[in-house]
Structure formats: structure tokens, C-alpha cells
């Protein structure tokens, strides 16, 4: 292990203000420099000159820390207008037709289920699966579209979401068909398996999902947040005040109900709701100027 790196890195970061960001950057640079100097040492350099060359190749530290401040003050509406992406006409037509088709199929399936239409459980299953397939396609198709705020999802992932949606709806169709004809246990089994598979797929997709927001959305939402997110003390105080209001309200409500009539508790409930709303309004929005100081 090359120990020269640590000394040279400390020298390089001397005078740089220690922040969480600069410390993290230093650690990141350290492991990469060690890998580079190991490579140089393998090519025949001494450990001291390998470390020196690795750090020379890095360039000036200021360049690493140099922040590109691209902060143009624009309102959310202006940014939205500038980044507007219109939906594709073909997509709008497809989605509308398929949604209507799914609604019709679902309605017919319900009618068949209540024996208004003939066909029984087979009709319920068939129509239900048709609706599920159409809505699954709409899901995948929507995720593939670029919107004003999001980039399109990669095809494989969008198809995954479409399949998972189909799975959940198809399991509902199977259960509905089973309800129409409880003699066919296989329908319930198929429904259960489909539901589990679909939930598993949803979980996997959710756990592996990465960012899809566009840059302008990220920069406008970063750093905002309401008062409770910025000021944890205020959030804690709000919780305590709410607790006091409701405990007192319940106590008074019970006492009044016993002493006079039960509907007094409704009056107390109303007072408590009003008090909670006023408390929320004053604590969350009221002292904006004070919170910003």
C-alpha cells in the first residue's frame, strides 16, 4: 500500500474548507489515486514517484471543487412552459381507444357476472383479461412517453410495469370469475399466483428504479420544502400542541356527554378540528419570515 498518497493528498487539500462535500470528494479521490499509483508502480516506478505522478495527473484541486452555479431565477410556471413537451397524437388516440375498450369490457364482465348477460364465469374471465391486457398496454405505453418533467422510461422497464399491471388486473378477473362460479377452484389458484407474481415484479421494479426527472425539475424542487422539513423543532412543537388539543377535546367531550347529552361530543369534535386547522396554518405558513432567518 502506497502511503505517500495520504501525505500528498493532505497537502493538496490544505486550505480547502472542510465541508461534508470536500471530505467526501477527498475520500473518493484517495481510492482512485491509490489504484492509479498501484498501476504506475506495476509499470516500474518507485512508490514515491508513482504517488507524485498520480497526483500530478489529477490537476488542480480547485477544478474539482469548482461549482458551476447555473442558477437562473425563473418561476416554476416559466420553467414548465419552456420545457413543455406535447404528447404524441398517436399516443393520445391509442390511450383513449384502449381506455374506452377496457371500460366496455369491464362493464360487460360485471353484467355477465350478475347473469344479466349469458356466458357465466368464462365470459367474466375473458372480458376481464381483455380489459387487463388493454390497461397493461396503456401503462407501458404511458411510461415510454417523454413528458415535460420526465424522460421516457427504458422499454424493458416500461414493459415490466405493463406486465405487473396486467398481472394485478388479471388476478382480479380470475377472482371475479371464481366468485361467479365457485366450483372452479383453479381460477382462485391462478388469481393468487398472478397476484403474487405481479406484486413481486412491482417490488423489484420499485427497488431498482432510478431517477427519471429532468434536470430543471430537480433544480427547482431541490432546497424547497415546507417549514416542518426545514425546522424540526417546529414540527415537534406542532405534534405536542395537536396532542394537547385532542386529549383535552376527548376529555371535555366525554365529560359533556355524561353531564348533558351525547351530541355535545360532536360540538367538541368540530371545535378540535377547527383548532387543529388554525394551528397547522399558523405553524406551517404563518411565520415564514421568522423561519427563514
Amino acid at each position: 500500500m502506497n502511503t505517500h498518497i495520504h501525505r500528498l493528498l493532505d497537502d493538496a487539500f490544505e486550505g480547502v474548507e472542510t465541508t461534508a462535500e470536500s471530505r467526501e470528494l477527498k475520500e473518493e479521490v484517495r481510492t482512485n489515486l491509490m489504484a492509479r499509483s498501484a498501476e504506475l508502480e506495476a509499470s516500474g516506478l518507485t512508490s514515491a514517484s508513482a504517488a507524485q505522478q498520480a497526483i500530478d495527473e489529477l490537476g488542480p484541486i480547485e477544478d474539482l471543487l469548482g461549482t458551476s452555479g447555473r442558477s437562473e431565477a425563473m418561476s416554476m410556471a416559466e420553467l414548465h412552459a419552456r420545457n413543455k413537451v406535447r404528447p404524441q397524437p398517436g399516443f393520445v388516440v391509442r390511450t383513449t381507444l384502449l381506455s374506452v375498450g377496457a371500460a366496455v369490457a369491464t362493464t360487460l364482465a360485471v353484467l355477465a357476472g350478475f347473469d344479466v348477460l349469458s356466458g357465466g364465469s368464462a365470459a367474466v374471465l375473458g372480458l376481464g383479461l381483455a380489459a387487463a391486457a388493454m390497461l397493461g398496454f396503456v401503462t407501458a405505453d404511458s411510461l415510454r412517453q417523454e413528458t415535460s418533467t420526465n424522460y421516457p422510461m427504458p422499454t424493458a422497464r416500461a414493459v415490466g410495469y405493463g406486465l405487473a399491471t396486467f398481472g394485478v388486473l388479471a388476478s382480479a378477473a380470475s377472482f371475479a370469475a371464481f366468485a361467479a362460479d365457485t366450483g372452479r377452484v383453479v381460477l382462485a389458484i391462478v388469481g393468487g399466483v398472478l397476484l403474487l407474481a405481479a406484486l413481486g415484479l412491482f417490488s423489484w421494479l420499485g427497488a431498482t428504479q432510478t431517477n427519471r426527472h429532468k434536470q430543471w425539475v430537480r433544480t427547482t424542487t431541490a432546497g424547497s420544502g415546507n417549514r416542518f422539513e426545514r425546522d424540526e423543532d417546529a414540527a415537534a412543537r406542532y405534534g405536542i400542541y395537536s396532542g394537547v388539543i385532542w386529549v383535552a377535546g376527548i376529555g371535555v367531550g366525554i365529560a359533556l356527554s355524561i353531564l348533558f347529552a351525547w351530541w355535545w361530543s360532536l360540538v367538541v369534535l368540530g371545535v378540535c378540528i377547527v383548532a387543529s386547522m388554525l394551528l397547522l396554518a399558523t405553524m406551517l405558513f404563518g411565520s415564514k419570515a421568522k423561519a427563514n432567518n
Binding site: 484517495r30 481510492t31 489529477l58 474539482l64 458551476s68 432510478t210 431517477n211
Partner: protein, 116 residues
């Protein structure tokens, strides 16, 4: 030769973001590995400075095009890995398409012959 070098380096540097996204498309990677991949592809003639790359990672992460995470403890510390996001893939595809289109225009304007 000495006159063309800064020009070529500028062109390369102008596409640093897209190049890094391209490397990460092949799988998660960390600074040294990304730099090495670029160095080897460039054949040692022109390379992108490591300092530029660190600034690029930070910008890409701020824009949500890559995500970072710390790897397991190896000898001497932990590596910071980068992963391309779905937004990053979309931006990469758009930039490559723009590059291909622009290259054709510049080739035409500069009268570049394919075999020249």
C-alpha cells in the same frame, strides 16, 4: 500537429458528460476505472483531465443523470461508484443522436471524404 491538438482536446472535452454516461451504460464504475476506460479508448493521444471528470460526476449527479454509492471497504478506503439512471440513459440517447446528426453536417460543410 501542435495546432490540431488543442482543437481535438476541446472537442473531446465538450463531450465529457456524454462520454462518461456512455462508459456507465456498460455497468456501474468508479473514478479510476472510468478514467482508465477513456484513456485507453483515446489511445493516449488526447485525454480528459481527471479533475474535469470529478467535476463532471458532480454535475451529472446533481442533474440526476447518475447516482453514486460507496462500495465495500477495500485496502486503503472505499470506492465511490456511479450508476447511470433512466434519465441518464435518455439523455445519452438524445446526445448520441444529436452528435450523429451534427457530425454529418460538419462533414458536409468541411468537405470531408470518408476515405481521405
Amino acid at each position: 500537429m501542435t495546432e490540431t491538438d488543442p482543437f481535438a482536446a476541446d472537442l473531446l472535452r465538450g463531450n465529457t458528460d456524454t462520454i462518461v454516461l456512455g462508459v456507465l451504460r456498460g455497468g456501474d464504475s468508479y473514478g479510476f476505472e472510468i478514467h482508465k476506460a477513456i484513456r485507453e479508448a483515446a489511445g493516449g493521444d488526447h485525454e480528459i483531465k481527471e479533475a474535469t471528470l470529478y467535476a463532471t460526476y458532480r454535475r451529472l449527479e446533481k442533474d440526476g443523470l447518475v447516482e453514486s454509492y460507496w462500495g465495500d471497504e477495500s485496502q486503503g478506503g472505499r470506492r465511490k461508484y456511479y450508476r447511470i439512471t433512466d434519465a441518464g440513459r435518455a439523455v445519452y440517447r438524445a446526445r448520441v443522436a444529436a452528435w450523429v446528426a451534427t457530425r454529418r453536417i460538419i462533414d458536409t460543410l468541411l468537405n470531408v471524404k470518408e476515405s481521405a
